[in-house]
């Protein structure tokens, strides 16, 4: 598998691209938003009864569902006393005229891995409390991200949906056979142990010398650069440049914007409405 310059969806009509770029230079975007203004965030938790935890997040017209399923498995050899986190992402064929049927492509893999690193390095989940039998058995948390509608900024929306789903996950208990072998008991549940280090991803786009947050679909394909920075408790815990280039000053400004915006986005997410 190799990574190929994408086609199709990246060809935005020149006139649309020009108008998006001109608007950003003037400080007001084509949708009327300011440069440092997120779209409306609407969220709902527990939307999938068959999952152990779930949430749907709508960031403007972008819609992402996250479902958490707990399982039992072997811990990693270098972390015998910790649970296991596995994040996967699917961009459904429903999501846009440009998404294809098939196994996750490089965009879906990048989306999953960026969200994974944010959750992992923030320490949001207390992984040590997810060991069952040290070295041999541990909880495996599967976070599956489903992109239902892609109107841009999938990373931020997927991160929000994953965090909300985890925050409302009820962890199945452990039942033991006579041999002592553990199995899951979905009739007895406890709250998933989390911490106050909630990871919030802030995606920042660049057009000319202007930086903007939460680029939508049309804006994404008019950008000169894009970087997603995940913040937890006033620390940067992960980042990824996903498009174009930045100068040193622009990267420093992007870090400041992310540190500044993350608490605001977290507050809006907690209230579940605009």
């Amino acid at each position: 598998m190799a990574s190929i310059t994408p086609w199709g969806k990246r060809i935005v009509p020149v006139l649309k691209r020009d108008s998006v770029r001109r608007a950003v230079q003037s400080g007001i975007r084509t949708t009327g938003r300011g440069l440092l203004e997120y779209r409306e965030i609407r969220s709902e938790v527990g939307v999938i009864e068959t999952a152990d935890g779930s949430a749907v997040v709508r960031l403007g017209n972008t819609q992402v569902i996250a479902g958490v399923k707990a399982g039992l498995g072997r811990p990693f050899p270098d972390a015998p006393n910790e649970g296991v986190l596995i994040v996967n992402a699917e961009i459904l064929p429903h999501a846009s005229p440009y998404s294809e049927i098939g196994p996750p492509d490089e965009f879906a893999i990048e989306l999953a891995r960026v969200v994974d690193r944010g959750i992992r390095h923030s320490g949001y989940i207390d992984m040590q409390r997810l060991a069952v039998d040290p070295g041999s058995s541990a909880y495996v948390l599967w976070v599956d991200i489903y992109v239902v509608n892609d109107d841009g900024n999938l990373i931020d929306a997927a991160n929000m949906a994953s965090v909300l789903a985890l925050a409302h996950t009820s962890l199945p208990g452990i039942r033991r056979k006579e041999t002592g072998e553990p199995s899951l008991d979905r009739d007895n549940r406890a709250v998933l142990p989390t911490t106050d280090r909630v990871p919030i991803a802030i995606s920042i786009g660049k057009i000319g010398d202007k930086l903007l947050v939460d680029p939508d679909f049309d804006e994404e394909y008019s950008l000169d650069g894009r970087v997603s920075i995940t913040v937890a408790n006033n620390h940067v815990v992960s980042a990824q440049k996903t498009l174009g280039y930045f100068t040193q000053r622009e990267v420093e400004r992007a870090i400041d914007i992310a540190l500044d915006m993350a608490p605001q986005v977290l507050a809006r997410l907690r209230h579940g409405s605009p």
Binding site: I109, A112, V236, T242, I255
Partner: protein
Amino acid sequence: MTKAPPVPLLLGGKRSDGRRPDEVRPLEMEIGVITNADGSAVVSYGRTRVVAAVYGPKEAHPRHLALPDKAIMRVRYHMAPFSTKDERKNPAPSRREIEISRVLREALEPSVFLEHFPRSLIDVFLEVVQADGSTRAASLTAASLALADAGIPMRDLVIGVSVGLINGTIAVDLNSLEDQYGEGDLPIGIMPNLGHITLFQLDGSWTRDKLVEAVRMAYRAVGEIYGAAREALKKRYFEAVQEVT
């Protein structure tokens, strides 16, 4: 989260391999190592060694992938099964390798005048033959040298380096031990003459000030690696010209 390393990562201002925090490992670069390729290079950052080959610009196949206004670029980052220290690495492409192929392509594209070659394809193949940390950073430098060797017009070379946090100290060019046990890792790719950052990834836990300082340190280390890259190009081209004349 952070586990104890088998040896101290930093002791008396020296790292486990004897380097200062701001010291890059010994660099080796050679250009034109694969005669069949249009451009090639082998780059070593200490024990990390990457072989890069470039084919193209050539006709884009399959044709529907071609772009009417610029060349497309195909990048494959891959680790040899024998390149890792412990277990054999499964040669099937992992999710990690697919993601790195993508970020490397995004890091190289801003450096190449793709618009000079509409409807064509440039292939960049990166094989990590020996891994000891900073493999994507060494891959970037190797890819740039191979692109230059292929005679493809570029705005600048992209030079890769990783910066990390070990015991609260910022260190450059991490080896695999430091990558595994350090508190943060920041692989970065910079076009040194333009000052543009084209690869920027990060994990760990960073305060604003440490992060800004780490980026500044990356620029300094990139300057040093760029010097070695220039020397390698000179050795390949200017000395060859001198021999003829």
